[in-house]
């Protein structure tokens, strides 16, 4: 689910950065507000938050057996954090987990960080908490069942949303040739399985924590001791099946057409070789850069033989000069290697 830089265009990556930064700002603001209300300093929660995000990070290193398949998977952690820390603190913790993964393990690109935060932390922490976890925790069934239900539903739904966002962001960037529909059909079922497994793992953890120290879990009314009714449980489980099954088929068949329409609506000059048809020349910033390049080239006419406009139609253009030029770049690169060594020795001497 961690996106690499190469999959995103700067425009999409920038937009996602802004969106994620806005949510992070909101989280900090809300935490400060909570601090005023409860008169408990936020930094008092800092060690707990840090330990929890370190734990999610470490938890991702543990591979769980997936029953019946012979393979194994790991947790993602958004729902777990939101259940233990609340949505705002959970979101900030997820950001640090993703930041460390990006910086120290090259898991997900630096430019793609905004998208990754949105896909993995936003849905898990906010959608998962406000639309799934909290409403379920308010119902009057057995706490254990509530926790299991909330974590499975939460993980499955938020992971589906995250996977769909990955497809959407990649398609909008227009870098891979993968048609939108088949990409969706590839991503969603895989993440349905992963979400189920993560939901099971999260619920197992939450139930264990609840049984040993219940005050750690958000939104649990510890005084209640209502017996669960089998009927209610079965009804809720049935509803889950319908929601997951129905929701998924809707997502696979209904949405893409609307989105495809949106994609094509943006491209006026698209040659549309594939379903996705979003070319980078037609998209956002690149076109203006290319135009400017052309005009600068005309004005300076540094090398009159060399036609820039034909080059943008066929980027290899005057192929021979391209090859020769690349060879020169390679020589410069090797030169840098030697010069770098020379430079380094010199600085050592200076030091």
């Amino acid at each position: 689910m961690h996106m690499a830089d190469a999959l995103l265009s700067p425009a999409v990556a920038g937009t996602m950065y802004v969106a994620s930064a806005a949510v992070a700002g909101l989280s900090v603001y809300k935490l400060k507000k909570e601090e005023k209300l409860t008169s408990e300093p936020t930094f008092k929660r800092l060690p707990t938050m840090a330990v929890m995000s370190a734990l999610v990070f470490a938890g991702q290193m543990i591979n769980y057996t997936i029953p019946g398949t012979g393979s194994s998977g790991h947790i993602c952690g958004g729902m777990l954090l939101t259940a233990l820390l609340g949505p705002y603190a959970g979101f900030l913790s997820m950001i640090t987990v993703l930041l460390i993964q990006c910086l120290f393990f090259a898991d997900g690109g630096l430019m793609a960080l905004g998208s990754n935060i949105w896909n993995m932390a936003f849905y898990g922490c906010f959608v998962g908490y406000f639309l799934i976890y909290r409403p379920i925790m308010k119902t009057k069934i057995n706490t254990k069942i509530k926790l299991i239900l909330a974590s499975i539903l939460g993980c499955v739904i938020t992971l589906q949303m995250g996977a769909f966002s990955v497809v959407l962001e990649t398609s909008l960037s227009g870098i891979t040739e993968l048609p939108f529909k088949s990409f969706v059909m590839l991503m969603q079922p895989i993440h349905l399985a992963i979400g189920l497994i993560e939901g099971l793992a999260t619920s197992a953890v939450l139930v264990f924590v609840h049984s040993t120290s219940p005050d750690l879990i958000k939104g649990v009314d510890n005084g209640e001791s209502k017996k669960s009714s089998l009927k209610v449980t079965i009804a809720v489980l049935l509803a889950c099946v319908i929601v997951i099954g129905g929701g998924f088929s809707l997502l696979a068949s209904g949405n893409p057409d609307g989105l495809e329409w949106a994609l094509f609506g943006n491209t006026e000059y698209s040659e549309s070789r594939t379903n996705m048809g979003l070319d980078e020349e037609d998209y956002g910033t690149s076109s203006s850069v290319a135009d400017k390049a052309g005009s600068i080239q005309e004005k300076t006419s540094f090398l009159p033989d060399y036609a820039f406009s034909s080059d943008s139609e066929n980027p290899l253009g005057t192929t021979v000069s391209g090859v020769v030029g690349s060879a020169i770049v390679a020589v410069i690169a090797i030169g840098i290697c030697f010069a770098g060594g020379f430079f380094r020795k010199k600085t050592k001497k200076n030091a």
Binding site: L103, F104, T170, E177, G317, I336, A351
Partner: protein, 266 residues
């Protein structure tokens, strides 16, 4: 080796690299961060068929690696894990985009093949640049700079604390999984039955640890703000960075290899 232990030793090895002394290490972390982001954005903005223009961009990270004294091979050892992911997504391009672009002898190169290679190069360059950033920037310096640009205290402190706790937890996890696997020979991963208690134990233990840590922090006078060591960064930072950023932008606008080539070939 255990996955968790491997990750923990990897963190330490990167931290060792970031403690080296070189002109690149001496630059201010913020300027390096800015340059890296501009570089990656420039690389990503290249046309998906502009393989020749993209090729020249390798000069920027290469220069960084050579001046900083960090072997490029260190970065490629990391690439071997991540590159297949980029490859997997680009790999469909040759099948979907079969229009022939040019041919070398009898070998026909389609647009799809070119865009696949471009995608791989983009991924590789971005990775090289971000690894260079991390390998030349200790976490303390990063946090200090983030505070300087008024990043909220809570995010910065969380980042620093999490980073400190991560290696501790990875070791803890490694010990736990190792002892588990010794008692469950021939089993792939942790059994379904033990999922909850395994991670749950870790959570309870870590919560207690967090409480103890907080107590000791309070005793040492912690009041919500960390103090970072006062390192003086090279004044040249803000001179070098604009030059390099301009170089990136120029390489994006002008197809440098083609221009160089046309000097020699008529």
């Amino acid at each position: 080796m255990n996955r968790a232990r491997e990750a923990s030793s990897e963190i330490r090895s990167v931290e060792d690299l970031s403690k080296l002394d070189s002109p690149v290490h001496g630059l201010s972390p913020l300027s390096k961060l800015l340059l890296t982001i501009v570089f990656i954005a420039t690389v990503a903005s290249f046309n998906k068929y502009d393989i020749v223009g993209l090729f020249a961009m390798i000069l920027v990270p290469l220069l960084g690696y050579m001046i900083s004294g960090i072997p490029v091979s260190t970065c490629f050892r990391k690439l071997k894990v991540v590159l297949p992911i980029v490859l997997l997504v680009g790999i469909v391009n040759p099948f979907l985009d079969r229009e022939i672009m040019f041919s070398i002898g009898s070998f026909r190169v389609s647009y799809g093949i070119v865009s696949m290679v471009t995608l791989m190069l983009k991924g590789m360059y971005s990775l090289m640049a971000s690894f260079l950033l991390v390998a030349t920037m200790p976490i303390d310096d990063l946090c200090k700079s983030l505070r300087k640009i008024h990043m909220p205290k809570i995010i910065v402190s969380l980042l620093l604390l999490t980073y400190r706790y991560v290696s501790m937890f990875l070791d803890e996890v490694a010990t736990m999984t190792e002892s588990y696997s010794l008692r469950a020979p021939g089993q792939n991963g942790i059994a379904f039955r033990s999922w909850g208690s395994f991670l749950g134990q870790l959570i309870i233990r870590s919560m207690n640890k967090a409480d103890r840590n907080y107590g000791s922090m309070i005793l040492r006078g912690f009041n919500g703000e960390f103090y970072y060591c006062d390192r003086v960064f090279s004044k040249l930072s803000w001179l070098w960075i604009p030059i390099l950023i301009a170089a990136c932008v120029l390489m994006r606008i002008f197809n440098v290899p083609a221009l160089l080539g046309s000097l020699f070939v008529r």
